[in-house]
Symmetry: C2
């Protein structure tokens, strides 16, 4: 008899429409390949060589203010620039390109060089969320912007080149690939059932409890059924809101709490600062109504077995299909079992 | 005026229908983040602890024969197994899964532990190609198999856990995601023009020469217009053949030559054994006629600036859109300028 816990299968990602491959029996595979360096994480509260610390000089010559909470500035090496000339290329529909403009910003989460989100207080995290809200509103005033991607790369293994707690916002003049896919799937469902796809989904997950990691009045954190990264999770608002600006003060606080708890669980998993790329998906802007859109936040962490052994998304994954060994249910059980208090705060 | 060489833009991948983001002005970005270990590459010709060397014991207890050329066996930790029971899950189209069976094989390219493809002779590479042909034919005799993915992960950074020269073949009972996308796009074109999409594409590229890296009687190697990895390339057959079994002996030899030349250029780029994931895309099997399919081989190498600094496909790339800094044209120019003779064979 076919059993999800034992047999290879594919699972449908309802947000993108893509399928992923799960090989549960493969969890026993030994590992003799590359292991990551465990970089010691004894950072000072202020680092004179850090270009994100208050009062320090950045590469473009400007000087950071002596900020107290968060600090936002335009990325000195923006991948997207607002004044990009419009234009394109189209040779026989074989060579096709189109100009893309946008704005890339950096948000320092805290003036303290030695912190990460789970080590910050709820109040401080709430202030970061307020900045995300303000930025979303302000950036969308620029009518050439169609999508605002808020994200964080945490850890060297995730291409983060500075350990100072910070995230980024890249906004673009067209809707990016992943967001287009999620728009399409959510719209299809919304038009058919008059209800948010993710609302139906989390209702089912709350009933099942199998993949729920955390839950409070306004949010759930779960390992999605179709997760591809070993400890991938998603935070979903219980209310169907299209973007972060719609959060009430109560929701903002609940979001801060679940963010701190989830990232603390992550750090507790291998008792180290857990690397990930995380980011919110929300409605496109300056692009008509998007009643189908339901705000959510993805966490894509690369580690698999330990602090030093990651999952490689390589040959088969790049050429054919994303693949995982440990099941979503297994990962959820593990994350659920961990304390939601950061290990550094547990030790007396 | 909009200029591909200077301004941010998106490019269409005609094989998948997806768009990628290019930020040419961002090539000057300094790097202060993670650098890779340069593992010394002084391997012995035979390693008693290698489970791929001739005569050695594998983890399942079996012993490798004293093979002389290539050696193929079933992966001891296969992600797909042929006897997986059929079945699935479908709860309200929200939790959807489907059983997947298949066969995973390993191909040792050579008995010599210390070689890689570019260091092998043309004759030896031709023998590997023959094995790929035979395996394709034999695996497709199993009517439950719908697709045969031939690939190689090279280098620790690409999740390769054993430096002994080897590749893999994963075949599955359904057509994987990337292959489905390429089938769709090729079919659309073929039905409209009665001609292979890739044939039209390489004709245009040969005319332009801008992205061509190597060319011989039967194949071209080029940096595709929509490449996402810094030094990504693709080998395309000049003749429209759906799969590798169709190659004539002459084509097989030309393929061996271009494979050796391209991988030699790669190694010459940073004078080190250049890591990549590479693999062929070809027609699905046991799935009706696929006259649209045009055989090709992708190379996805992660390195960006040097032997130790790679491109990170992280936050924005995972959540929004694949992104690159160096342009396809720049990468092609660089690869073209390098010798196609491996640096180890140049030194006298
Ligand atoms: O070669 P291995 O050890 O089977 O495994 C390697 O290639 C597989 C297919 O791309 C990946 O799923 C693994 O993450 C990688 O480590
Ligand atoms: O944070 P940085 O230095 O701008 O850059 C990092 O995040 C970007 C967005 O995900 C990636 O394109 C880069 O490869 C990564 O190193």
């Amino acid at each position: 008899m076919f059993d999800l816990k034992e047999h290879s299968h594919t699972r449908l990602n309802i947000l993108t429409g893509d399928w992923i491959l799960v090989s549960p029996h493969r969890m026993k595979r030994p590992w003799q390949g590359q292991v990551e360096d465990l970089s010691k994480d004894n950072r000072p509260i202020y680092d004179s060589k850090c270009y994100l610390c208050p009062g320090n000089k950045r590469s473009d010559g400007s000087v950071n203010p002596e900020y107290n909470d968060s600090y936002v500035f335009t990325n000195d090496f923006s991948a997207l620039l607002i004044d990009t000339p419009k234009g394109g290329v189209d040779e026989e529909r074989l060579l096709v390109a189109s100009s893309e403009s946008g704005i890339c910003k950096v948000i320092c989460f805290s003036p303290c060089h030695d912190l990460t989100l789970p080590q910050m207080g709820i109040d401080a995290i709430e202030k970061v969320i307020k900045v995300w809200q303000t930025e979303f509103t302000e950036i969308s005033l620029n009518s050439s912007i169609k999508y605002i991607q808020i994200f964080e790369n945490k850890g060297e293994i995730m291409g983060c080149s500075n350990p100072h707690p910070h995230g980024q916002i890249w906004s673009s003049s067209s809707v990016p690939l992943e967001v287009s896919k999620e728009t399409f799937q959510q719209k299809k469902y919304f038009e058919k059932y008059g209800k948010s796809l993710l609302l139906s989904y989390i209702e089912l997950e709350i009933k099942k409890q199998e993949r729920i990691v955390l839950e409070n009045e306004h949010f759930v954190a779960l390992v999605p059924f179709w997760a591809v990264w070993p400890y991938e999770t998603m935070i979903v608002s219980k209310r169907h809101v299209p973007d972060i600006t719609q959060f009430t003060p109560g929701e903002r606080k609940s979001f801060a709490i679940i963010l701190k708890q989830l990232t603390s669980k992550y750090d507790n998993l291998f008792e180290m600062s857990f690397p990930y790329s995380a980011g919110m998906h929300q409605r496109p802007v300056n692009d008509g109504e998007h009643p189908e859109w339901h705000w959510h936040m993805h966490f894509y962490p690369p580690l698999l077995r330990s602090a030093t052994v990651k999952k490689f998304m390589v040959g088969y994954e790049m050429l054919a299909n994303p693949q995982r060994d440990i099941t979503a249910e297994n990962a959820a059980e593990k994350l659920k079992s961990l304390s939601d208090v950061h290990y550094s705060e547990q030790k007396i």
